[in-house]
């Protein structure tokens, strides 16, 4: 994560889960990264895959860092600023570790699969055993190394489990093309996300989605 003046993270230092996201995106695609931070993924995609990379980011410092590095990024948030984009205007729309921080995750998810021919969504799994154990044994809201916020200062207001997310996709007629369950460091497990074990062991999950259009 480079701050001002530095260079955008090189591919090798790209966060592990973002490397998995990048691997799902073919060369030359048009990509919108919602919540793009300081543009690590976008810079990587633009440089190594010739992607037409656009971003949206809530924090002003993140936006400014991106534009300083020549990336096309606007300030905005997933809850309010996705509705302006026309349907199928991007090949891929990425929402990485942000869904749980949105006010209306269901609407956000619908917008992602509307704007993108495909959507790539990753999120922390609240069904992980540490969460369950923390609440059961301590009787306190769970805190883990991966989600270290206290209940009163967390930006994460809409937690879900892997199974919850799959159920929402079913509800919205969103097709899961691929799914990966990951540990805290972004290393994948080989587990079916519909299986209870994945919901217990995965600290985060990564989905490749699409919604087939009738018209």
């Amino acid at each position: 994560m480079s701050a001002d003046g530095g260079t955008v993270a090189a591919a090798s230092s790209l966060r592990a889960d973002l490397q998995l996201v990048a691997a799902m995106i073919p060369n030359g695609s048009r990509v919108l990264d919602v919540g793009c931070g300081e543009g690590e993924l976008l810079a990587h995609l633009a440089r190594s895959k010739g992607v037409d990379a656009r971003g949206m980011e809530l924090s002003q410092s993140g936006v400014n860092a991106c534009v300083r590095h020549g990336l096309s990024v606007i300030q905005g948030d997933a809850d309010h600023d996705l509705q302006d984009y026309p349907s199928a205007s991007f090949d891929y729309v990425v929402l990485s570790q942000t869904l749980q921080a949105t006010y209306r995750p269901r609407l956000v998810l619908e917008n992602l699969v509307r704007i993108g021919r495909r959507a790539i969504v990753s999120f922390p799994n609240f069904g992980h055993w540490r969460m369950r154990l923390g609440l059961m044994l301590d009787g306190r809201m769970p805190r883990t190394p991966f989600l270290a916020y206290s209940w009163y200062d967390t930006p994460n207001i809409h937690f879900c489990t892997v199974m919850d997310f799959v159920a929402l996709c079913d509800d919205l007629d969103v097709t899961v093309e691929r799914s990966l369950t990951l540990d805290r460091h972004g290393r994948p497990f080989r587990l079916n996300p519909r299986a209870g074990l994945a919901n217990l062991l995965a600290e985060q999950a990564l989905f490749l989605l699409r919604r087939d259009r009738t018209s």
Partner: protein, 388 residues
Amino acid sequence: MSLTSPTIDFSSPQERHDRLTVAEPLALDCGVSLPSYIVAYRTYGALNAARSNAVLVCHALSGDQYAGPETHPVTGKTGWWTTVIGPGKVLDTERYFIVCANVLGGCMGSTGPMEVNPATGKPWGLTFPVITIADMVRAQVKLIDHLGIDTLFCVIGGSMGAMQVLEWTASYPNRVFSAVPIAGAARHSAQNIAFHEVGRQAIMADPDWNNGDYYASGRGPERGLSVARMAAHITYLSEQALHRKFGRNLQDRRKVTYGFDADFQVESYLRHQGNIFVERFDANSYLYITRACDYFDLAAEHGGSLASALRDTKARFCLISFTSDWLYPTPESKAIVHALNAVTANVSFVEIATDKGHDAFLLDEPEFFATLRGFLDGCARHRGLAVP
């Protein structure tokens, strides 16, 4: 796109501005046609062989073509945007060919109310037709044609300059590679029109204005124009900036005088701003240019939809606003961003945190410069220009 018979008039000894005389009519939005007209302009740097490095800088209401690092022939001061234009600066005169034209209706050599109407041999005054932002851009297009430039690498400007940038991208979508509207809006708000009206009424209330016919009298409406400038200048700053600069400090005195002298530093400052403005600006030009801003409504020109106005643009956009700008606040820029998203244009948008108000784009704002530099370098790479 070619001119019938363009001539550059550098010859006249009393004429100190570089001027292009366009000897063909200009059909204005108001329905009147100017039979011929003059565009006064300045250039900095050199056009490359591929003619791909030209940047058009659009000036604001009270600006002119002297934007770069040189001495202004009237004020004796340096150009108005030397924070940005110059060797090694964001608009690097060693990389880019920078063009800045005095707007139509202006008073620094371009055709406007203080220039002589060729048909009568007298200054136009109020017989000058009312012009629009689109008219200003139409005149600039002829200059760009004349300079042999097909596609501008960048069109950039703040405030009224931003309006011209937007007009360029809407009306000449294939001729703009990148566009930077700074501290601007796609339409003038009621508040902005209101402030302009105060300025115009101050000018018109001055007996020396004489219905715009004052050029022969040797005495113009300097008091009115000065008041207009003072009122406008407040809108270019912010409450915090005024407080930081002046507070309630007294001017060269230890106590208030119980009179109407400029007791406070802020009064003295505003009076000074008004006084220096009248030395370089024509009151009638001020009326015409403020009117052009008021009439600007890019969506209305295109059936009420801003997205429709920008539908054909190929430009890479970077919109910039400033947190303390209450004249052209951030939501105005965001409305443009939303319209550009709706047509899937390539757009960046940055809001710069500053307490310097609307005028921040003219001042030393490192974050603003870094944003501009990053955006322009990215565009230069896409344009095939060398990036240091």
